[in-house]
């Protein structure tokens, strides 16, 4: 439309130049000012288009995808899920909302997998500790969310292959060294300060443990591949899962929490049974 305007204006200008009246000269001055303005806008537009095209030619592939909006179908579905369930705390551009949720740019698919697959996200309410609960999204939806987050900022990705391929005993040493101080000897979990807690690993699957080490959810530190190599991570997972599946040779495990539950059993079962026993003897003799 502006282009057709300018063509019509040019024609009119040529016509009026022939008239040669002062009023027409003033009109021509005004028109040329308009023309300069129009030329500036056209130039700016051309420069912008050139920059955009040049950027898309030079920038990384995924950014190019984004710019020319060729999202994969998974990313689109993920964005839809995000807009429905996550946007209120993490913001319209994954930038986070202060006092509600952190930015998700760069957290990567590992973090998404851990948080969503363990049911921690979407959050029920803001509190010290997000507890594990049944997942809201199914596996296909989680993959879509992972694709969307991964597409917008990248970050740690999920591993593949056998996640228990490691040295069992070394895994045990690494677990006691790096993990037991919060998660307990056997991964039973433990309390942290102010209502926070290191969760039990009882329900965690291999991939969740791996993703947690990569992404460092909540109070957990990140164990990047420089801190624990992928082989060491697999060893740790092997140890944790082996311990979980291992029977208790001594009888009932009573939570494997050590002296607290043992003391409880002694006082409730042991002393209780004996008090009953001697009371019985006392009434019978």
């Amino acid at each position: 439309m502006p282009f057709s305007h300018s063509v019509a204006g040019l024609r009119a200008r040529l016509r009026r130049r022939a008239d040669g009246t002062p009023s027409s000269a003033a009109r021509i001055r005004r028109r040329s000012k308009q023309r300069r303005r129009l030329a500036n806008i056209a130039g700016l537009l051309a420069a912008l288009v050139l920059t955009g095209v040049g950027y898309s030619a030079l920038a990384p592939a995924n950014a190019a995808d984004d710019a020319i909006s060729t999202q994969s179908s998974a990313e689109q579905a993920g964005e839809e899920l995000y807009t429905r369930s996550c946007i209120s705390c993490h913001g319209s551009n994954l930038q986070g909302v202060s006092d509600r949720g952190p930015s998700l740019i760069g957290v990567g698919e590992a973090s998404v997998y851990f948080q969503v697959h363990t049911g921690r996200m979407p959050l029920v309410r803001q509190e010290a500790d997000a507890a594990r609960k049944p997942a809201v999204f199914d596996n296909a939806e989680i993959e879509q969310l992972m694709a969307y987050i991964q597409a917008n900022g990248g970050g740690p990705t999920l591993p593949s292959g056998d996640l228990r391929e490691g040295d069992l005993a070394e895994g045990g040493e690494l677990f006691r060294l790096n993990c037991a101080s919060c998660h307990n000897f056997v991964g039973a979990g433990g309390a942290l300060s102010s209502g926070k807690a290191a969760p039990s690993l009882g329900d965690a699957n291999d991939l969740e443990i791996y993703a947690a080490m990569l992404s460092g959810p909540e109070n957990m530190p990140v164990f990047g591949d420089n801190q624990l190599t992928p082989e060491q991570k697999r060893s740790i997972i092997d140890y944790v899962q082996t311990l979980k599946e291992q029977a208790d040779p001594g009888g009932a495990g009573i939570g494997r929490t050590g002296p607290v539950s043992e003391g409880l059993v002694m006082w409730v079962v042991g002393i209780g049974a004996l008090l009953f026993g001697i009371f019985w003897m006392g009434t019978k003799a």
Binding site: N184, S193, G250, G251, E262, I271, G282
Partner: protein, 558 residues
């Protein structure tokens, strides 16, 4: 002195053999006297026996464990049958404990029996101590035995700590680190004490071996000797008894050592052994293979001591981290107060309690009759107060586990403990004091007005009254004449007549209740002359109030 009257020549072979032995060793007299000792009968008098029997179980199971345990701190790579630790460097102590758990026949079972029996040993000592305390059994002349009991409790705790530390696993090593810190926190002598115990800096290579010899030889020997003195004093001073019909400060009513008491004691031994075996076989305790070998760089969440040290862990968690910095680069660490001072004060007060009470009450007489807790409200309330304090510390020792399992903030748990240990004991004192007074008054009321029968009668005037059953003769106002004599007062109609002995029969009665009544009446007539000047209370079978069982009460002779 009861000299055995020669009953004539023995006819049987056993009798002849016994005579031969007696002619050489002269044991018949003392043996007869011992076997004829009368022990009073009450269920709560068996609590100390539980401790004794669990100690016997500890000796037996512990001896088996010493065959396989190697108290060495030399590092070896594990090559045993537990796969998740294979190849890990560990001390020989830990390695041998793993071996005796997995590669020795019955090893794990015996180890678990040993550990459960250890928990039971201390627990039964504590329950026994509570019974002694709340019934006033520690009063003159038994202060010495009370003191020995407190020493035995402390030794049992030391026994537990050394035994807990010996496997050298990650859990016990964490405890050992705390023991080391407690030693270091003692002003002036701390460093030297630590050096003396650990033979150098923490952890060194001597401590497991030292704990081992302390655990299997020194403390058990002292405990055995003290138990012997404890029991000899008990026999010498005679067991206390609850007040009841026919029971006085000068007699003991109960069963003879042989056969009745010996039978019960044997039965109880098997019950205790059975319980330990059941727990040892069915419930896993201290699975050291899950904890891993000790490594000072590692520590696990939820590391706890065994229950009997939990109160010290709790006091440490509740104590603010107040280091006292003295001039001259000298510090009294915050850890000193909740461990050395609190434990020292608690056990000192406990050991000196009989003397304290004697000073405060001015009661210097000898007492052989026990008191019902309600009749001594101050002592009972002080005891409940102390128990509440202990309970708050104890609970706080596991506050991280409680916080984790019940989704409570750990900080909130700490403050609950801090405020609770100050506020709750006085509250407990006041509540138990009121309960004691209420129970006392109810006893007096029943003695005065009789038992509420639940029968409502309407008088000609239209007034409704509840019929009360007097317990004895009444005066012209219908008020009972019986005075309270420290024995349980029947509060329900079906407790009336409970003073007679129980009907025989284990699962079902094997004699007619009417015959028992008749027999007990006859016995009472026979006794009447002997005890005419003694106050007569009443007794319930559930409280062991059976005056006539076990023969006549005897004057203390031996």
């Amino acid at each position: 002195m009861a000299t055995a009257v020669a009953p004539g020549q023995p006819a049987t072979k056993i009798g002849k053999a016994a005579t031969e032995i007696d002619e050489r060793l002269i044991v018949a007299g003392p043996l007869r006297r011992t076997l004829n000792k009368v022990f009073p009968d009450h269920w709560s008098f068996l609590l100390g026996e539980i401790a004794l029997y669990s100690f016997v179980i500890l000796l037996l199971s512990g001896t088996y464990l010493t065959f396989f345990f190697d108290a060495s701190m030399a590092e070896v790579p594990y090559q045993g049958s537990y796969a998740p630790l294979r190849g890990v460097e560990m001390s020989q102590a830990y390695e041998s404990t793993l071996a005796l758990s997995f590669d020795v026949r019955g090893g794990l079972f015996i180890r678990q029996i040993h550990h459960w029996a250890a928990l039971l040993f201390v627990a039964s000592i504590v329950v026994h101590l509570l019974r002694i305390f709340f019934t006033g059994a520690f009063r003159k002349p038994r202060e010495t035995n009370w003191g020995i009991g407190v020493v035995l409790l402390v030794l049992a705790l030391l026994m537990g700590v050394t035994g807990y530390s010996m496997p050298d696993d990650l859990l016990s090593g964490t405890g050992l680190r705390i023991i080391s810190a407690i030693l270091l926190s003692i002003p002036v002598i701390g460093t030297w004490a630590h050096w003396a115990v650990f033979d150098g800096d923490y952890v060194g290579d001597a401590i497991i071996g030292r704990f081992y010899i302390v655990h299997v030889l020194i403390i058990p020997a002292i405990i055995l000797a003290l138990i012997a003195v404890h029991l000899l004093l008990l026999i010498k001073q005679k067991h206390t008894q609850f007040p009841g019909p026919g029971r006085t400060e000068h007699n003991v009513v109960g069963n003879r050592l042989f056969p009745a008491f010996a039978g019960k004691a044997t039965a109880l031994f098997f019950i205790v052994f059975g319980l330990c075996a059941a727990l040892g076989g069915l419930v896993q305790i201290n699975p050291i293979w899950l904890w891993g070998p000790y490594n000072p760089a590692q520590v696990s969440a939820g590391s706890q001591p065994d229950w009997y040290i939990g109160f010290l862990d709790g006091s440490t968690r509740l104590m603010p981290a107040w280091d006292i910095n003295l001039p001259g680069n000298y510090t009294i660490p915050a850890l000193f107060w909740p461990t050395v001072v609190v434990a020292g004060a608690m056990f000192t007060v406990l050991a000196l309690y009989p003397q304290l009470e004697r000073k405060l009450t001015g009661d210097t007489a000898s007492h052989h009759l026990l008191q019902r807790p309600r009749d001594v409200p101050v002592r009972t309330s002080v005891g409940v107060m102390a128990l509440t304090f202990y309970g708050v510390l104890w609970m706080s020792g596991g506050n991280d586990v409680i916080a984790d399992k019940f989704d409570i903030s750990l900080n909130a748990m700490t403050w609950v403990g801090r405020i609770g240990m100050v506020v709750l004991p006085p509250v407990a004192y006041m509540i138990s004091y009121r309960i004691c007074l209420g129970l006392q008054r109810h006893d007096r009321e029943v003695l005065e007005h009789g038992i509420e029968t639940g029968v409502i009668r309407r008088l000609p005037s239209g007034e409704f009254i509840e019929v009360h059953q007097p317990l004895g003769p009444v005066d012209e106002h219908g008020h009972g004449q019986l005075t309270y004599a420290g024995a349980p007062v029947p509060k329900k109609m079906n407790q009336v007549g409970g003073a007679r002995r129980a009907v025989k029969g284990f699962f079902s009665p094997i004699e007619q209740p009417s015959q028992v009544e008749l027999a007990s009446q006859q016995e009472r007539r026979g006794l009447a002359a002997a005890e005419a000047d003694e106050p007569v209370g009443s007794g319930r079978p559930s409280e062991g109030g059976r005056p006539s069982e076990g023969g006549r009460p005897q004057d203390p002779r031996d």
